[in-house]
Symmetry: C3
Subunit: 270 residues, 3 copies
Amino acid sequence: MGSWNWISLTTDYGQAEGFVAACRGVIARLAPQVQVMDVTHLIPPQDVRRGAEVLAQTVTWLPPAVHVAVVDPGVGTSRRGVCVSAGPATLVGPDNGLLPPAADALGGIESVHALEDPRFWLPSVSSTFHGRDIFAPVAAHLALGVDPAELGPLIPADDLVRLPPPRITVGPGRIEADVLTIDSFGNVQLAATRADLAVAGFDPGSPVSLRVRQSARRALLGQTFGDVGFGELVVYVDSAERVAIAMNGGSASATFRVREGDRVVLARTR
Amino acid sequence: MGSWNWISLTTDYGQAEGFVAACRGVIARLAPQVQVMDVTHLIPPQDVRRGAEVLAQTVTWLPPAVHVAVVDPGVGTSRRGVCVSAGPATLVGPDNGLLPPAADALGGIESVHALEDPRFWLPSVSSTFHGRDIFAPVAAHLALGVDPAELGPLIPADDLVRLPPPRITVGPGRIEADVLTIDSFGNVQLAATRADLAVAGFDPGSPVSLRVRQSARRALLGQTFGDVGFGELVVYVDSAERVAIAMNGGSASATFRVREGDRVVLARTR
Amino acid sequence: MGSWNWISLTTDYGQAEGFVAACRGVIARLAPQVQVMDVTHLIPPQDVRRGAEVLAQTVTWLPPAVHVAVVDPGVGTSRRGVCVSAGPATLVGPDNGLLPPAADALGGIESVHALEDPRFWLPSVSSTFHGRDIFAPVAAHLALGVDPAELGPLIPADDLVRLPPPRITVGPGRIEADVLTIDSFGNVQLAATRADLAVAGFDPGSPVSLRVRQSARRALLGQTFGDVGFGELVVYVDSAERVAIAMNGGSASATFRVREGDRVVLARTR
């Protein structure tokens, strides 16, 4: 319950129009003392999986907040809007798989409420901009101390839509894992974690082979970009504790032509 | 005149340099208590019409504020800077057509003053960056309670430069209208409104034909993206109460190769 | 030492992930009263020279602040992190040339401290994200009033890594200068200054010839874009007091195919 000083925003609205400002304006009018922080508005249009991943990897670093996330291809249809309480935060957005990974990262889902009571929405709700008309005002009301139970009926946590989890296969000297994200440096983040590296028996500083989309390359298991020569590949544990591939002074994703959702095989070499 | 807690910024400065930060810095030094909200800084360079449209569609959602808008190909020439009072807001920027649509959306122009008194500018004014040197400090002074009449002489509202209005032709079963904006999802917003649809006698849920740039397509008159199948076109009233065209799961603008300023014909089909 | 109300951020993190939000979150948790201002997060990946230039041209317009800058190809290696006191500000970032030009612009380096005391970092420090794990928390502590001397040992200012200065050659009627930056309008900023124009004896309003990458063009020495006809080139002193080249209604950089680091020759013509 209580109230929050912060609201965060994660959307695919882009930054070239006034969509984000409209959401911020709605919040500023309802809850002028609340501070608003952008996570990003450059989730690729309607890419729910990517939005879920960026949100989950970021929320743990933010102050206690109401996190609004809107990547919402089903806006205006029968898909539900939900409020998910999790640890020191509340998540607000569509029930399409976007929120559960962040809730898990925050310590697990405590309760879920459907957004059904229009008292907490704008008086007039459009069919295509629920970020402005429903999610932003709901977040403002939550930040002001409204109890999630007032927003609508309790829903079993198991009823939330969840995306299929990324695939990771670990064996002796071998890891096969989906690409989770590729950042603006071209660093390729895999679903595998630091623990998977240990289970597979990879040794720090040792050479590994990489295979993705037919092409194979050699890399070094290191800690940071500067551990390999300019233009060489390093496999490391990134700042989200995921196994990642980077090129020192270049873009690993461009070199490999790798895309999100691709599968990468790491193998120990001698 | 009172004072304002908020200043909004709408520019074509981009986000890759420090231009926006310089404007924010000028405001923070003069009026440290005032909060600054970005509308967008990605108006295409010198596209006054687009800047005017985004501003007009956004300001009504913002709290009472001084709205600074700078898309200013004539910076440093004899074009005037102006302060436009309109409803719960004051608009500041160049007199080149950028501000009047927003003033109209806010309830109409109440008064216009030319920016002539350098007491409210930075001590040294560059020839090419009036956003930092004139408009930002003027906005800060307004937010602190300076009366617009102190900024310079009163100008008749009719003297303001206005852009030609977009064209809309409505007949029985037919609407012809300019494209106003295209957003990052590829949704195509027309100048026609919900009222035009009613006047033309379009029925909700009925099929319509679309024509733009030689190509013709079929669409459904719906309410949201999910009202049509994946890859199909929907004509709907968007969150700014304009008639718009979207493709469910895709980009209507890319499919049609439509650009801002193009003209679209909607016709009832049976 | 006092404390600061503002922290500014300049990085090459991009805006599509949650990296900037993670840094802001770390600051918000440690120093919730401090305001954070973005300079830009679109420095091209690992382009230290560009980051240094944007920062130096922006900081003088900002309120007294802790300026965090992170363009850091050597993250996680033996390159030092530093805190540089300069005028009304403190700069925090890697010791790779990024900070000294801003310190110079702020009035010169007063003292430099290495970042060595982990009490002011996050409890766990990754190898690849020192912006979040070291620089952001150090900035938050500085803003709260921590004395730079507590962060680590004093370093001689002359020990800081400095980038090679841009080249400028001035003679009678002739200036040869490196391109410093190109903005989103395509305006080409040279390293030469207003003073160099005077030394070379260029007269306001007079024609000049431009040469870059084999191609030569005529331009006019003016004050702003509107001083020349549509599609014509103007040489002017920009808002950072640097000599710059613009095309009225177009992009000078696209026309010339000019890039940062190119060299331009301006010559007086009769």
